[in-house]
Symmetry: C2
Subunit: 338 residues, 2 copies
């Protein structure tokens, strides 16, 4: 069986380019006892992967040069020497960017294909959905009537954050980067206000108008100047979940800005960085509640799916251009099952 | 009865000067029913007062121009028309910078003069001690074996923070601004290491050497570049209590620096601003434990006391020059009691 792979060709300085990646084709060996042959169906591209392309100390180890990029993949077992993962099983795992791969089954999670579309397990029922749920409800603890601001609001995490905040009775303001996204947030997801940071001349004024009672909760996926504008509106005892800093990931020197500590002191606010795995003990409860809301129609969910393994690098680069609404995925192959 | 007062003469731009203050002498009216005449014994000068001299929005209302500065005062009732506060009672209150003042007794707390020196109620048994206790134990929750860094370590709050952290089994590193302070922290208070930020050529290197296992807890009284150096050493799940930002209080434009959010994200750390009154429901427990440690000789306590009401402005300005070890106080009069 031949597989195609995408390797980390060089560590990017600043924004990744085509040269960051390299395609390779190779023959996979035969399966050994306990192994399964996987066909990749959907591959996830996520902003955090930018961090793994650098070799700076981080919460996840860096990708190795000249080896495949790894990330969230939904795959189908097409040949099995592992009794626990028979042929036809659909699994979710941290797997290489390959059309086919071999696994010993460790760390793979079986998916029930009848529960929801398979791709949802890379989004609202997977890492981004759990990130939104845990960051908002465990760190920020929004109360009815409070004002919640979400940056990166039209992304895989932000769309879920805003909808959960609405379910909790909050006023929700989203910040995103196109009029299509703004309309989507307001018309489809029920956000109270949404601000296009690219076309709004003064974000701080626009935010102040959208948040007449100040800001109690800020769920930050973006960082930088958008955050500075939000900070100026913080109420006493505000809570800030630092989930992502996509505006800074490609910085080539330490990003500078107004110091936030004096504001946190003045408003007695809390700021907490996190990664979803910090809350692994809450995943069961979180996934059950998310699935329930989804089935009851209380959560809307959108994906941007491009087709073809070759599109992976461009889909990833598109994250930094703000091209996606909701979860960005690449569909690699059809599921053979029904 | 004549009293002398110190008024806020003008709002300072940057560092306060002599011209910030104005002395005044006036005749106090006779007491009405329910009122007491107070003789100020000890008056506290504290960094947070700088904030009240500006009229920017803050957690405490600004001082009014041409009215007396207010702050922590230990005073003696020398004449009473209030049965609950008989003559001879010693009280702690938020009172004007005056040699004598009239109060209706509201907000005054009676002090037992046998428990500890009267001045301690403005320090280790008062606001600074409670600030240290609550900020460290409620926000930072230090665990045995962890590394705790304290900035402004030789001040009224920092000295207590470091000693409590030692009582909790932590490695404690203090940052302060003179060799006298450094020696005091290490020799008298049992800090494991102390760094003179004024004479150390590279604070970051010195801190790295003093914290071979990284930093788990940072209790920040100072802010600015000292904090930047600490942040570079944060371990995963570090906790930062933002108690003060004295290095920035006199800034005339918003202070800039490296953004801290990417570091909080990478290390999954928590940062929380606070003011001691946020934890008023814990004061009873905190004061009892502090008093117990003091009586058992487990806490050392130092004051810098200057004598004379006229010294108040200079004692306050000295805070920003780093002149004090421990709590800075002004002794205004002798206690008449035994």
């Amino acid at each position: 069986m031949k597989t195609r792979s995408i390797l980390l060709n060089e560590r990017p300085q600043g924004l990744p380019t085509d040269n960051t990646f390299k395609f390779k084709e190779e023959e996979l060996p035969g399966l050994q006892e306990g192994q399964v042959l996987l066909k990749s169906l959907y591959i996830s591209v996520d902003p955090y992967m930018r961090g793994r392309m650098s070799d700076a100390k981080s919460y996840v180890p860096p990708y190795k040069l000249h080896e495949p990029i790894m990330g969230g993949v939904v795959a189908e077992v097409i040949e099995s020497h592992n009794a626990q993962l028979p042929q036809g099983t659909v699994v979710l795992g941290n797997l290489p960017w390959q059309t086919y791969s071999i696994s010993d089954g460790k760390g793979l999670m079986s998916i029930n294909p009848d529960l929801a579309p398979l791709s949802y397990h890379l989004g609202i029922l997977g890492m981004p959905g759990l990130t939104a749920y845990c960051g908002l409800l465990i760190i920020c603890v929004p109360k009815p009537g409070e004002t919640v601001v979400v940056s990166g609001a039209a992304g895989a995490v932000g769309t879920v954050v805003g909808q959960i905040a609405k379910l909790k009775g909050c006023r929700v303001i989203g910040i995103a980067g196109s009029d299509d996204k703004i309309n989507y947030l307001k018309e489809e997801l029920g956000f109270d206000e949404a601000i296009n940071y690219k076309s709004t001349p003064n974000i701080q004024n626009a935010l102040a108008a959208a948040c007449p009672n100040g800001v109690d909760v800020y769920f930050d996926n973006v960082g930088g100047e958008i955050s500075d504008a939000v900070y100026s509106l913080l109420n006493n005892f505000a809570r800030i979940a630092v989930c992502g800093q996509i505006s800074l990931y490609n910085a080539t020197s330490p990003p500078m800005g107004p110091r936030v500590e004096p504001i946190l002191l003045k408003t007695k606010s809390l700021m907490k960085g996190f990664i979803v795995s910090d809350y692994a003990d809450r995943f069961g409860e979180a996934a059950a509640e998310l699935a329930g809301w989804l089935q009851e129609g209380k959560l809307q969910y959108e994906e941007t799916i491009v087709e073809g393994f070759d599109q992976l690098p461009h889909a990833f680069l598109g994250l930094f251009k703000g091209e996606n609404i909701g979860k960005q995925l690449v569909k690699v192959a059809e599921y053979s099952g029904s």
